[in-house]
């Protein structure tokens, strides 16, 4: 007879994403392994399987012979409905065993809008939400990932956080767990020992007290926990694990291609960008290693496309050499090499033409702000001249579509800056009229504006987020002035970015809000189909919490919820950068001059960017 899952599958969309069985998935004999890990990505299969971090750690964990790490993703709404109706607990793809049977439940978290999914997945797994309600060594829940540098909103639910890059520390966690299980430790004993591993943050070991005005008064470590926890980094990228025998999904995912990580960190220091600071210090991979990894991964996966995925790929010193080596391999095999997030300032025509030989793709720029003054204030080193020159070259070369990304609500932004966006678009159109060689299809410009969200560990971590009303006013102002013809202007809704801003700089009192929202149906907030702001507003109200408290400007001497965490970049450096922003002063990139952010102290073998 068929299983319950088999009976449900014909009733849901894209059933292939729920059964595993893909090429290169790792299956072990459960009787032969000591530790089973349910590795959860708090979004759909299509998003999670596109995440390089998850693929790396899946390989790292499964490289341990006595550990079996399996994948778990958030179900789409139709599947969730069936699971709840039939009381089918969330399962892992490889074995189809329920998540609640696993030793460790790990989450990799990339963005705030997936917090609800974490709780919803625990709930669907029938695992108690609160860390305090899980008493045993079984079902220890831990989390890490790019978005876990202020993990406070999740403090009630997660037993411990693994900060920074997990290649080395995850192995240490598994070693400790293996010992704990063999020696029948209590959960408390295990957490105590975990807190001694560098980079591990056990939130229940820190007591947070508040002032009358709601701000944090003190963070008091208990049980001998360290006052600050410093993130971990991989010291030698050339020797770090990279998955060349990688799972090839049987169904279409968002980024269905081989991802090559050319370096970690970013030389730029854009003042709004959290990753730009939290990924420091800068560590490149060598061309030889990258070329070898590319060939191995492409050969093994049969992928038709490869991309270089790093924060600012075009800053890779040997990009020409790497691109040439890759093209030599890809072109005869009809493999498409795509180079995303190329910056206007060093996008060479020659390179563009080479890439074009394999396939024609569009031009993308992220000037982020409309005027040079504001671009200087946010340290986005893109000039109008460079954008227009690159466009001219591209239009002459037959390109006709341009995508532009901006933010509204950046600190110090005025209406003049907003209108500067429309002005830049006009100039690009004019350039097209003058230079285009391929006029058949017309010029297509798409412009997208996002609502600025101040993030922890950036120079703007103390800034207010402008109000939704003010954001909407600026967005309409821009819309009115945008040349309508051949420009496709899209903007983000304010509610999602408002919520993101609350969660990004939230404290642990938001746990109650998260729980209320999820238990009343919040999930998949990153998807228009499911995002319901009303559920969140109800939750804030029910918990007596004012979201505006979290989007306000913070004083520089206020104790911040994430002050326990050390990402390498020093607070004084961020303060100095904030002042520079007010003066519209550019800070040179790390290649021109080290400006002493402090991240190099994590990397004694340095220097950065060598």
């Amino acid at each position: 007879m068929t299983t319950l899952l088999e009976r449900i599958l014909p009733t849901v969309q894209k059933p292939a994403r729920y059964v595993g069985g893909e090429y290169n998935q790792i299956v072990k004999d459960k009787a032969q392994v000591d530790v089973r890990v349910a590795f959860c990505f708090p979004d759909t299969y299509e998003i999670g399987m596109s995440n390089l971090g998850m693929r790396i750690l899946y390989g790292v964990m499964n490289n341990q012979p006595d550990v079996w790490c399996e994948r778990v993703f958030a179900p789409w709404g139709d599947m969730e409905e069936q699971m709840r109706k039939h009381n089918l607990p969330l399962w892992a793809l490889e074995s189809h065993d329920p998540v609640k049977d696993f030793d460790l439940i790990a989450f990799t978290v990339g963005y705030e809008m997936s917090y609800a999914n974490i709780l919803n997945m625990l709930n669907l797994a029938q695992v108690p939400l609160h860390a305090a309600d899980r008493h045993d060594l079984k079902n220890i829940v831990f989390a890490g990932g790019a978005c876990m540098y202020n993990p406070e909103p999740l403090a009630d639910f997660i037993d411990f956080f693994s900060l920074g890059e997990g290649e080395d520390s995850t192995v240490e966690i598994l070693d400790l767990y293996r010992k704990a299980k063999a020696e029948h430790w209590t959960k408390d004993q295990f957490l105590l020992e975990v807190s001694k591993i560098e980079g591990m943050y056990v939130p229940s070991f820190y007591e947070h007290t508040y002032n009358e005005d709601g701000t944090l008064k003190a963070i008091t470590p208990k049980n001998g926990a360290p006052k600050t926890v410093t993130k971990r980094i991989v010291h030698d990228l050339d020797h770090a694990y990279y998955p060349t025998k990688d799972i090839v999904p049987s169904t279409e995912i968002v980024h269905d291609r081989t991802n090559l990580e050319v370096f970690r960190g970013c030389i730029r220091g854009c003042r709004f960008c959290q990753a730009g600071f939290t990924y420091r210090p800068l560590r490149p991979r060598s061309v030889e290693v990258l070329t070898r990894q590319a060939k191995e991964a492409l050969e093994d996966s049969g992928n038709h496309e490869i991309t270089l995925s790093s924060l600012s790929t075009s800053d890779y010193k040997q990009l020409e050499e790497l691109a040439n080596d890759l093209l030599d391999y890809c072109a005869p095999r009809k493999i498409n090499l795509s180079l995303p997030s190329l910056r206007a300032d060093n996008f060479s025509r020659e390179l563009m033409e080479k890439v074009q030989k394999v396939r024609k793709s569009g031009l993308t720029f992220a000037p982020e702000a409309g005027t040079q003054r504001l671009r200087d204030a946010i340290n986005k080193n893109v000039t109008e001249e460079e954008v227009l020159e690159t466009c001219a070259t591209a239009f002459e070369g037959g390109w006709s579509s341009v995508k532009l990304y901006f933010m509204l609500g950046l600190p110090t932004e005025t209406d003049e800056d907003v209108l500067g966006i429309a002005d830049l678009v006009y100039k690009i159109l004019k350039t097209w009229r003058e230079k285009a060689t391929n006029r058949k299809r017309g010029c297509r410009i798409s412009v997208a504006t996002a609502y600025f969200v101040p993030k922890p560990f950036t120079p703007f971590q103390w800034e207010a987020q402008i109000s939704p009303e003010e954001y909407t006013r600026r967005q309409r102002l821009l819309k009115e002035h945008m040349p309508a013809k051949s420009v496709d202007y899209k903007w983000h809704e304010s509610s999602l970015s408002r919520l993101e801003a609350v969660l990004a700089r939230g404290d642990r009192r938001l746990g109650a809000v998260l729980e209320h929202a999820v238990l009343h149906g919040a999930k998949l907030d990153g998807w228009d189909e499911y995002f319901r702001y009303d559920l969140w507003l109800d939750a804030f109200q029910a918990c007596g919490i004012d979201p505006d408290f979290y989007t306000r400007e913070r004083s520089e001497d206020e104790l911040l919820p994430w002050d326990t965490i050390d990402v390498g970049v020093r607070k004084q450096f961020l303060q100095k950068e904030r002042k520079a922003a007010y003066a519209s002063t550019i800070t040179p990139d790390c290649r021109t001059q080290c400006t002493g952010c402090g991240a190099n102290l994590l990397y004694p073998e340095g220097p950065c960017d060598a």
Binding site: T2, A16, E252, G302, K334, K360
Partner: protein, 221 residues
């Protein structure tokens, strides 16, 4: 033209037609076998699947027609299943590879099996009642189509149908049905039972293609 006969079972049955096309093309790449491609910016491989299978239906008889790049002229098609199987996901399994083969229009019938599952055990008299249902004058079933549901007499499309009890919980329908022009979706056999014998509506039904047949009843290859 070269042809491969493959099976789609287990986890593989949830893979859609489009995804399967991509999987097969990638499997060629992974095995280091170059398919023949069209020219141009967006090259397509010369591959096609006969009679698309609906998601959730298993099959022991799927066909892939393809051509290899000129550089691969020496490749022996009969060696391909083994090479491809090492590169395919769970549930997609190549059985046979050969050159040429009959023209698709000669594929007229499919032998299928439909399993009707009864969680509380097969009701008494079910086999006989279902047998009579499929051996009456007409058997009208509602079928989804582009213009909404349409009523259709499915009996003319059933060449042969044997009802038996497979185990305590399962009734097996073993049938030969029309494969194309018109084709009969085997799921409609279970639907006919649920529609006309509501007391014998199964708790779950699943279908499987067993063999492709030509007009004279021999296997299509």
């Amino acid at each position: 033209m070269r042809r491969i006969l493959f099976e789609k079972t287990g986890n593989g049955i949830w893979i859609s037609h489009l995804d399967l096309m991509r999987i097969l093309q990638r499997a060629f790449r992974r095995s280091g076998i170059l398919l023949k491609h069209t020219q141009g910016f967006n090259p397509h491989a010369f591959v096609s699947l006969a009679l698309p299978l609906s998601v959730g239906t298993a099959s022991r008889c799927e066909l892939l027609d393809f051509e290899l790049a000129e550089s691969e002229a020496a490749v022996d098609t009969s060696s391909l299943p083994e090479r491809l199987n090492a590169a395919l996901p769970d549930g997609i399994h190549c059985v046979l590879g050969y050159d040429g083969g009959r023209k698709l229009k000669e594929l007229t019938h499919l032998q299928v099996e439909v399993r009707l599952e009864y969680d509380q055990g097969v009701p008494a008299g079910a086999v006989d009642a279902i047998d009579s249902l499929f051996h009456g004058e007409t058997l009208v079933v509602e079928k989804r189509s582009k213009n909404g549901p349409v009523e259709q007499d499915i009996l003319p499309m059933i060449q042969e149908l044997i009802v038996s009890q497979e185990d305590g919980n399962t009734v097996l329908l073993s049938a030969v049905i029309c494969a194309q022009n018109p084709s009969l979706n085997p799921d409609l056999l279970a639907k006919a039972v649920s529609t006309h014998l509501p007391d014998l509506a199964p708790d779950f039904a699943k279908s499987m293609r067993i063999e492709m047949l030509t007009q004279d009843g021999t296997p299509f290859r």
